[in-house]
Amino acid sequence: MAQGTGRGESLSIWFFVGIMTLSYGIVLFPYGAWEWFGNHEPGTVLNNLHPTFWWGLLLLAFGGFYTFRYRPRPGDKDVA
């Protein structure tokens, strides 16, 4: 159901939430992996915890779930 974007639209507001966080996960997760496994960690406090990698993974999972759950499907159009 295309919540929030208006009658006649097929992309829900939650789909936008999903696609945005998924995109960030797609950017951050591999970048965090490169930092971790390539020994390119930035000089930040607690960089030994590899926050970019784990946060990227979390965004990937969150965004992936929302994108899949609220993906446009046939019949969504004309539903508010």
């Binding site: 960030y24 951050l28 930035p42 607690l46 915890l49």
Partner: protein, 582 residues
């Protein structure tokens, strides 16, 4: 709510720079918000679609947008700085200064706003008190809103200059053009979608600071111990136990100011009558969603101190120079010098840089940009609605077609944004204007709450009572502000002592007590004038006032669907949190 001139501590320096991966994250955000504007344009053809998002938002969307409209970057950075300056007392602005009012709006006031089918708060005043009250509220709100948008715009440009070294003109024009484009295309619908996105982004960008900070500090208990050791005071880690007297806490305020000034007047005034936030709830698709939206918003609001207050407290406990391991001492913006290069208001960027490398830094900066742009969009969309319905449509062109009003809404968005840009440049050349603009905004909030509250709950309140009460409350607030802000230092101290009833009161107490007095004056004048003038018949008040209105069933069939049930849950959690952090 923060003194905006405080942002002017910024000097010609740059805290960090963005790497390519940060730029990708920021550009992705801009691409999505502009796409949303074009995408929803096809669904914003009627005035109800453009100004009220078609009244088809679910409780979750309206609730998130409701709380997000208030969660601008100025709020984030300002209150993080206040948390450093005043400690955990700053949390009062998120809990007692918000939660009771949000629940009251949802359970008591929303039915009247919603079933009266009003399009705005001034619109409700017109239905209840006539044109005088509507005109006064609409002019003051429209004027202040557009000025606030300009202040927000300038603040964003200034923050970007300091953190990243960006040119101020570039930030102002790119931010303004993007916001004008998506609001002009998609109206309130576009603004709401972006506010929901912004809420998610702010959490995605800022939540790592408290998580990593608490790990570094060794947990909450250890953090409190470090703060007490560093500040030599328990006043920074207790919310209520130090509010017995003005002198016992770093804020210089007492519990009367917090409970009655902040909790009962300022908070209720802002959350229940400021059209910027109420407009989001009016977009709900049915009465139950309209009642649930503020309740859900309150639940989310209670969690916000984690990303705003905790970073400020962490700075008090763990912010040390990486080379010397000495505690970094932040100061007021007027005291910044070579020995103390950072001010309170830099807490959030400093903590962001401390824990976030490339990529995560871009996410944090994107969250700040989203917050600023969302703040501008909120102001401009509310301005466009009030201008079109309550000024242009009410006094200049009453009989235009719906299509004409939508066109006026789009044009007023663009013109409003141009005025905002002018305000931004005005502020750039006269910084004190920022504080004046914010003070002006505060003049109307407390009296307006008195007028709307009596209008909804008291059948005897008359048109003249409502109008003159609002006028008297506003005028008295302006008078008290002038009384306490101009003159010699000795006069100001005397004035503050008179308004806040104590010689130990600090400026923060002044705002609380000024709001309290102006509300009392508004209510007294409304009551006295109402008893001297003729009331409206009960039939005329149907749908507008408690006792003259049969409130329709909201359709809830189980306890889980009842807004009052969830409001009680939120209220219980609110009480427990206050006891835990007593």
């Amino acid at each position: 709510m923060q003194p905006l001139a405080a942002m002017l501590f910024f000097q010609n320096r740059q805290l960090t720079h963005l790497s390519p991966v940060d730029m990708i994250i920021l550009l992705l955000y801009f691409a999505v918000v502009v796409f949303i504007g074009f995408y929803v344009k096809g669904s914003t053809n009627t005035s109800e679609e453009f100004f009220l998002a078609g009244r088809e938002m679910t409780a979750w969307i309206a609730g998130l947008s409701f709380v997000s409209a208030n969660l601008g970057s100025l709020e984030l950075m300002g209150w993080a700085g206040s948390a450093y300056q005043y400690g955990i007392l700053a949390t009062h602005w998120y809990w007692i200064g918000a939660i009771p009012a949000m629940l009251f709006l949802g359970i008591v006031m929303m039915p009247f706003y919603y079933i009266s089918k009003t399009h705005s708060v001034p619109g409700y005043l017109q239905l209840r008190f006539g044109e005088g009250a509507r005109g006064l509220a609409a002019i003051s709100f429209g004027f202040m809103t557009i000025l606030m948008s300009g202040v927000n715009m300038y603040a964003m440009a200034l923050v970007m200059k300091v953190i990243l070294g960006w040119d101020i003109n570039f930030s102002i024009w790119v931010g303004a053009a993007t916001v004008a484009l998506y609001v002009m295309l998609g109206g309130l619908r576009s603004a709401i979608i972006n506010e929901v996105l912004q809420f998610i982004l702010i959490w995605a960008g800022a939540a790592l600071i408290p998580i990593l900070g608490l790990i570094e500090a060794g947990g909450w208990t250890n953090l409190k111990a470090q703060i007490v050791a560093n500040t030599h005071s328990i006043g920074y880690v207790h919310m209520w136990s130090t509010l017995g007297h003005f002198k016992d806490n770093p804020m210089g305020i007492n519990w009367v100011g917090i409970v009655f000034g902040l909790g009962a007047i300022i908070s209720f005034g802002y959350w229940t009558t400021d059209f910027l936030v109420v407009q989001r709830v009016l977009s709900a698709h049915n009465l139950r969603a309209a009642k649930m939206a503020p309740v859900l918003g309150a639940a989310f609001k209670m969690a916000v101190p984690l990303i705003v207050i905790v970073p400020g407290l962490l700075a008090l406990g763990v912010l040390r120079d990486p080379h010397t391991h000495q505690l970094i001492h932040l100061v007021g913006e007027n005291q910044v010098d070579a020995a103390h290069p950072y001010s309170y208001n830099e807490v959030l960027p400093l903590m962001l840089i401390r824990y976030c490398g490339p990529g995560l830094l871009g996410l944090g900066i994107t969250a700040l940009v989203a917050g600023f742009m969302s703040g501008m969009a909120g102001n401009v969309s509310a301005f466009s609605t009030v201008w079109t319905y309550d000024l242009y449509g009410a006094y200049m062109n009453k009989r235009a077609s719906d299509k004409h009003y939508v066109l006026m809404g789009r044009w007023s968005t663009v013109i409003g944004m141009i005025i905002s840009i002018g305000t931004a440049y005005l502020v750039m050349h006269a910084a004190s204007i920022m504080d004046y603009v914010q003070a002006l905004f505060s003049f109307f909030i407390a009296p307006l709450f008195g007028t709307v509250l009596l209008g909804m709950l008291w059948k005897r309140a008359t048109n003249w009572g409502g109008f003159l009460g609002l006028l008297a409350g506003t005028t008295s607030s302006i008078g008290m502000w002038i009384y306490t802000n101009f003159g010699t230092a000795a006069h100001k101290a005397d004035a503050l002592a008179h308004i806040a009833l104590s010689r130990d009161a600090q400026p923060m107490a002044n705002d609380m007590f000024r709001a309290l007095w102006s509300w009392i004056i508004c209510v007294l004048v409304t009551v006295i004038v109402s008893y001297m003038t003729t009331p409206r018949t009960e039939a005329e008040l149907n749908g507008l006032v408690y006792g003259a209105t049969v409130i329709p069933d909201d359709g809830a069939t189980t306890i889980w669907q009842k807004p009052i049930f969830w409001a009680c849950i939120v209220a219980v959690v609110f009480v427990i949190l206050n006891i835990i952090f007593w």
